[in-house]
Structures are given as C-alpha cells and as structure tokens.
Symmetry: C2
Subunit: 145 residues, 2 copies
C-alpha cells in the first residue's frame, strides 16, 4: 500500500509521505530545513532524513516545492497553479525569491525580462541552462522599518 493515492486531478497524486511533507511546508510561514520537517513529522512515524528528502525530491520535481539554495531550506510554491513552476515539463519561467533575513518570510515572484535577459546571455555564449537560481536576501518592508 505504498503507491500514490488518486487525487482531485490538477496536482499529481501524492503518496502519504509526500502529502505529509507538503502539508508541513504549506502551513509554514517561513522556509524549513529538511531536518525541521523531519522533527515535525516524528509523530507521524518519520524516523530518518531520507524519508523527508525523498518526498522533497518528488515535490520539487512536481513544482510544488522550491529549494532555497542560499538557505539550504525548502518552501511550498506560492503559485501552485501557474505555469511558471514545474521543472517537469513545459514551463517558461524561472522563479525568483526575496528572503527576509529578519522575519524569514519569502516572496516568490517571476520576471519575464530577467528571464529573457539571462536567456539571451546564455544564447550568446552557447550555454544550455538547466536550472536557474535567483535569490535576494535582505529585509522586507515591515522589518526594514
């Protein structure tokens, strides 16, 4: 009984572990590390980091979760139904993040011009992009005040 469970349709069917991990991330205001997620799920039978990492890998592949490289942490996608996400297949955008170093809040956004500009640079150099990371660390409006 480890197979994915059918679900409402739009989002891919998630397994139990994937759902649990996503729930935890999705109800958090701030990014969480894999180990923090693990701790939140001990009551649900999670014992080892790999259980979390495996779920995170899939969720990331589905475009439901993003990894923040500068934080070694993860957030639920803020625009789950937009085409900007999903590494899996047809997408046309890179997601950018602004991360408040005071309150931890993450703003996710997308900018076509930045995309095009980076894409043009790559074209000019013959570089084939696979994944692009854009992260702005700083202070959000509320915290900068």
């Amino acid at each position: 009984m480890n197979a994915p469970v059918s679900s409402p349709a739009s989002t891919p069917a998630l397994t139990k572990n994937q759902s649990l991990v996503f729930e935890v991330l999705n109800s958090s205001d701030a990014p969480m590390s894999a180990y923090t997620i693990l701790d939140k799920l001990r009551d649900h039978g999670f014992r080892a980091p790999l259980q979390v990492y495996r779920a995170l890998d899939k969720l990331t592949e589905f475009g439901m979760v993003h990894r923040l490289e500068s934080l070694n942490a993860f957030v639920a996608c803020a625009h789950p139904n937009s085409e900007c996400c999903s590494t899996g297949h047809g997408h046309h955008g890179t997601v950018a993040f602004a991360i408040c170093e005071s309150c931890g809040h993450v703003f996710e956004f997308h900018d076509h011009q930045v995309d095009h500009r980076l894409g043009d640079w790559a074209k000019g150099k013959g570089f084939k992009p696979a994944k692009t990371t854009i992260e702005i660390r700083g202070l959000c409006e509320a915290c900068a005040a």
Copy 2:
C-alpha cells in the same frame, strides 16, 4: 607575526592564510569546497576547517572570492579589478554565474538590466536587498556539443 602583510596596493593586504587560500582558488579551473581547499593546504600547516572558512570570509568580504550557493563552493573572482565586485562598499552590481555541470567551469558575468529589474521589484515591494544570488546551472558550449 599574524598581522596582514603590506602588498602592491590595489588589493587589500592579505594575511598568510588568506593568501594561501586565495592562491589555491585562483589557480583552480573549477569551484572548490572549503574542505577541498583544506586538503590542498595540509602541507602548509592547515589542520582545521575554520582556518579555511575564516580566510574565505575575509576574501569574500574583499570581493576577491565568491561563494556559489547552489554548490556550497567558492571561486576566485573573475574580474578582480572591476567595481562590480566587493561587497564591502561602493559597488553597483550583482554578479551572476553560469556553472557547467559537466566540466565544472564557471562563467562570471554582470548584467545591469537584470540588476535594475530586480532592484525595481524590490523598490516596488519596499524590500531592502542585502545580497543577491544569480546562478545558472547547465552545460557550457563545449560540453553541450
């Protein structure tokens, strides 16, 4: 005899450890992790990670070294004398990196329009950027062939 040694002028005076770490990074084609640097410097008396991390912190502050967040690794700045670098003070740019996942080579570049665009987004949101990371992972021209 632990104080910085005076040097040619343009670059800040580096201590012995800082020079050693910078030399290692600067003569490498690809980014290196702190621990790889440590191994390269065992012959020079390095014993502990902190010796490397402390030097890297300073070199980064001087703008002579960049940290690649998506790799947990470090590279020597490719444009040491440009104003684009140096987190320390007056600079106007964010550096972007294209990282070849096959050969490991890193291309460092700068794009004002990307900068402005991200800056505009931040202004609009009242977000105060402190440090911006832009990293494109993919395949360089030679490796994509």
